[in-house]
Symmetry: D2
């Protein structure tokens, strides 16, 4: 294994870590804490994205009450010698795993509509939680019985630091959206409530900010100005791409000297979309990374976002049940070419289907959030209906979910749900 360059202690708070402290804002002035030559490999340990706010118990109120200003705690930055703006930073995911004997569980949360929300928050407004056992390559949950499968392990969040110019662009364009929402909440398509909560974007805020190892004025600037880590952006970031998994090689645009790469938000498995928001199987863990450079790669390849070559680790499935959705809302409203609505409908169809086998809606939602489902843009041109599909692998279930095989619905229990939605 590569040398551990970023040790974490999951029993201690994120701002009192044994080596370096993680950071949770993106900023050009982030202070590198790991240094490597091109060709070097490093191990970085990572807290879970919330920094330990959710633990292995049956209390869903932790999810209800999570402080989202703190997320996501990231390990790094890694400075790669010779990386310059315009280069591509080539990163190979050599290994990803749990912190043995230190943190060996995973969690999935349905966020409260008052604190985070999610893709189907109008259908599932209350906080809920499931705990997963991580048994090597397999995952299973006492809260979601009869699913047992080899997960698609990957980092949800990884990227390079923005330049000041790019950071300004991010902040400005997101502020414009926030302003529009403040002016007229109903003007934002697909906002789940049309109200003030959940927000449409997260502007910079020093509340909960952690600047890593930066100090003094620099730390102040990072905390005041740093971009929130929630959305993916031109540098990668919180892409939550399940296929960017073990064995993948990613090429990131470089925007500052040294690249200043950060990573975190490890998922033991996730379906396309990560539809419960805190929807993957979230975990603390480690990642082993190899860093290389493609000089002047952005212009050579004509790209301004990351690209990647996936690994070969699967899990590879051949048997699926596929659900379809089109861009008509569940209230019957016709939208124009809206894959957001289309994918929602496919998800809702799959949830109803799984309920016939005895799962609750919350369990079904968590299955779709964590199993490596394939969520596809199947059609995007047939006016006015976008068509999205959701392919659910059959082999993750310990019983047969084929359409021809419908038997009696079993009692499959339930996940813990908040009984008092207000904290």
């Amino acid at each position: 294994m590569p040398e551990v360059h970023f040790e974490v202690d999951t029993t201690r708070p994120p701002d009192d870590q044994p080596g370096a402290n993680p950071f949770n804002r993106w900023h050009p002035e982030l202070e590198p804490v790991v240094h490597t030559e091109p060709g070097g490999t490093v191990r970085l340990e990572c807290l879970d994205w919330t920094g330990g706010q959710i633990v292995d118990n049956d209390d869903p109120n932790e999810v209800r009450d999570v402080d989202l200003n703190q997320v996501h705690y990231l390990s790094g930055p890694v400075e790669v010698d010779g990386a310059e703006p315009g280069d591509l930073l080539k990163v190979t995911l050599l290994d990803i795993g749990v912190l043995n004997e230190r943190s060996e569980f995973g969690f999935t949360g349905i966020f409260s509509q008052q604190n985070g929300g999610g893709f189907l928050t109008d259908h599932f407004p209350d906080a809920a939680k499931a705990i997963w056992d991580l048994d090597g390559t397999y995952v299973s949950s006492r809260h979601v019985p009869d699913v047992h499968y080899e997960g698609k392990i990957h980092p949800g969040l990884l990227g390079t630091a923005p330049s000041q110019e790019l950071l300004d662009e991010w902040v400005d364009r997101e502020a414009t959206l926030i302003d529009q929402h403040d002016d007229d909440p109903e003007s934002i398509p697909n906002h789940p409530t049309g109200e003030s909560q959940p927000p449409v974007a997260s502007p910079p805020t020093p509340d909960g900010a952690q600047a890593g190892e930066a100090e003094g004025d620099v730390a102040d600037r990072i905390e005041q100005e740093g971009a929130r880590t929630v959305p993916p952006r031109e540098h990668g970031g919180n892409t939550d791409i399940k296929d960017l998994s073990l064995g993948s090689t990613i090429y990131f645009p470089v925007f500052v000297e040294g690249a200043k790469f950060g990573i975190g938000d490890i998922h033991a498995s996730q379906g396309d979309g990560e539809i419960t928001f805190c929807g993957a199987i979230e975990m603390a863990g480690y990642v082993d990374l190899k860093f290389e450079l493609v000089k002047d790669g952005m212009s050579k390849h004509g790209i301004s976002h990351p690209i990647f070559e996936p690994g070969h680790r699967g899990p590879n499935f051949s048997e699926y049940v596929v659900f379809e959705g089109y861009s008509v809302t569940e209230d019957g409203e016709q939208r124009y070419m809206d894959p957001h609505v289309a994918y929602r409908q496919a998800c809702l169809e799959a949830i109803e289907y799984l309920k016939k086998f005895g799962y609750t809606g919350e369990q079904a939602l968590m299955i779709l959030g964590t199993v490596p489902i394939e969520g596809r843009h199947s059609g995007v041109v047939d006016i006015p209906n976008a068509c999205s599909t959701l392919a659910l692998p059959k082999d993750v279930f310990e019983f047969d979910i084929s359409p021809d095989e419908l038997g009696e619905a079993a009692d499959r229990g339930q996940v813990p749900i908040t009984d008092d939605p207000l904290s």
Copy 2:
């Protein structure tokens, strides 16, 4: 092979076919022309979706001038004995192929912005066309050199007839959208021009309508009232799902006695999204189908849209270059959780990437429209940016498109493009 129940002659107009005439509107009163018991298999031949308006030459103006009121010409309806509303009609795609010695080419079109448009019509406003050779399992094009691959053959359009109630619902909800667009074209997110063309939806119109074998008042009603075939809806229809390919089994909701199943719009291959609109490799051909019934299947399974189990024919690839897009427009505008914009950005990135290898933008667009790319809803919860990805299989190219392998761009010619955008 099953008995041919719907013979077509691609040299004759769609309203003068040797057996039955195809239909191009959805209506409960469609006249069945094929009858089968559950368990029965039939071969249906199909015109290409335009009914022969585009032929094997280098003239792009056929695409510019296509009459879209006529589309899509569908074969059937097939009446299945005993099918009743609430059942699921189980259809297995036993075989799909070309009409040997009768129609052995495929075409891909970029529609004019004044007539059809498409996913990237603001970037590619002029009509263009490519012709494909269909060599058994392989496809290739004189207009798009150095791609040669085993296509993902499938019917773009297949479904059951709506009930009167469902038809009314379709027409009403789409009319509401059209009205909204008429009132305020700019109020429709993701409309590519914000102007009157292309339309946001296609209302019923007798222009170009063909009622199949219905006659008299019934034919009049079908032509006047029948739903256009462009969008997918609760009955399936124009789903354009590439994975619903050879060997797949689909379960369709039944809305009228006998189900009245229709099919057409065969594609020799297509990528997720069919992004050029006429973006698959369009072809005339035949389909061999097996029909079965799941009685009362809609409520048993809790579904209101088709579901399916994919076949095992691949083509299976393991090597990809994957492009990412987020919901910020190419003009830098921040959208809220908009996978439409995100997938557009991934497509635009891939096009720029392919241009570095010597393809023109139009060629690149046609590659993405026809190669079985995987277009995924990778992230749908990380406010405000949806993340979509586009996975391009490397093996379809006759040279290496890996990021590490960039050499000199070759001259790869161009597809025929309209030089006079007005007809």
Copy 3:
């Protein structure tokens, strides 16, 4: 489709065909009947390997009585302009299919021990037969219920003509083996009976020989001297490789001017090993082929046998039950590193396993012969036991064959078996 260059009529005998007559011996002087430039594509039609001796009925005695001197009837030879000894002939399998409305069934035979035998003839000495329906990409059999799958279609036999020198080498080395067997039948390891039947090799014989379109002295020489088509040899020939399927590209050594390529023995599907001998789903059909040349390819690549790149058509499966066998015979005799015995044991284990689900031994044998099982040389160095494995895809069955799911054995009928083993 390419032009048909070799039309067959399955209702007429192999020596009275409408175009050219097929050939069933390999010889350098074979008379080419199809000519093509490098880059050309042709369609060849093919009789089934027996030339129509077995038809669609329930009579197993056809298998018992088949004249094996006649096999295999091959289409061609194809002469490729410019092909010279030392070149590689590159052949792409563009398409393979049934002869619609002319011959639409397949058959599998267990040969009698007195006429052909097979891999397990000592366990299954009597002739038996199963007829398969070929429904597009799917196969099924009234004699083997509850299996229904997408077959792995491929030509069992394809190759180039030998030079005189190579032919002589073939005949000599096989004669040596025959002599050894005649001298001491028990000296031949793995001969199934240790007796005179079945033979260990098939020497040239004019009985049943058909020289194609050669005439006069040349025809006489071909019939007298021509190598039998049963074994694969340096030119390819009867390789029976299931993975050399639709979409594959094969590189054949060229031994004579023009290459003189022949093909036949089409299989709708087959498992690794083709263990029932006539074990694939045998069919008449067509193949569409593209021919190219790699000049001086044999020495460039250092090869003296064909190599190939498989297509991408699968069928791709992810769920298997795998059986193991080692090189100890079913009588408990220890063999030294003998994968023949090892694979036999894996097959016998799989047969017993399938019998627990209600299949007869003969049905189980035919399942293993026709389903695309993976038969692997798992271990070949652990003295004294070779280890072979047999991976059976679960999805080809219409019920669950998982080890955890064993229920009551159903009555699944039986295949027709000879009741009088002597003809």
Copy 4:
């Protein structure tokens, strides 16, 4: 992670281990050192199969001089409560990995013909060695440049203890073979030299024997009578099946109370056949196992050898170059249906092919031994030639090995080879 039940220290000799000592003979009286209920999970650490005789350096003489009487050092036995003869022991491979910071390299050896030999020992008689870096999911070697791939990690050896009756049967049948070889070395087909070395089987011997934690008379009996671990047998054992990899579930026959399961010989990757004998990437490591029981499973399923269901971890490849071999020896001798010879020929063809790209024969052999090649029994009935194939995945190379792409052979160095073949 499960509790570590069998800790190893790779810096200490195999008979002085910190917890329990490993065993290297199979015997019914083995002393269990790990106990579990059905449903339990345990972690076992394992020495490499030689117990540390080969280390990370460039000295090939370690391979030349390895003491093969000592192999294989196995961890366990694990006693499973309630396991009785006739049951199946269901074992799930939850995780497999390296011993971080303790032993992080792998090795591949070509054994000397005078000490071990191997599948191609007559072509490669001298000892050679390669060292591999294990970078998470990737492997690479300074001795075999330009290959870099995700390995197929698996235990080469795992099984249950034999009953006394079964042990006697093993010893007797192998002794018969040894006697035959002693009487007439040339009577053993496929023995690589026809001489006394390498042996045809390994009889019990107390030399090098280690009885685990058994003591006194029991230990003496184990050492004197215990079966050697080299071959796979009815209990599993040294199957060296690459597909029995991470995530797999295996069902082992139980022959003694408690099953007495042992495991070792971990491979970071291996091709079908493990053709260099010490041919996988050998490593020390850990395995996490879940144990369950299927009561009376042997008769329920009709099996007498292990069966398994493979995991979904791949690595999954779609692009291959496939080599063919038939049962004619490289000296031109015709064998009867001999897949051993056939697979040898396929291997030799592949080696010559790789040499054209600049590898030495030894490097090519090690590539085929370690890359997850597919080695198939493609044809086993076409008298007299068995046909075996070897499918080499293209993506494991950092350059293109396609037949169309042959360029100049690069200088790719060499592995360390013994210069004095005698120790």
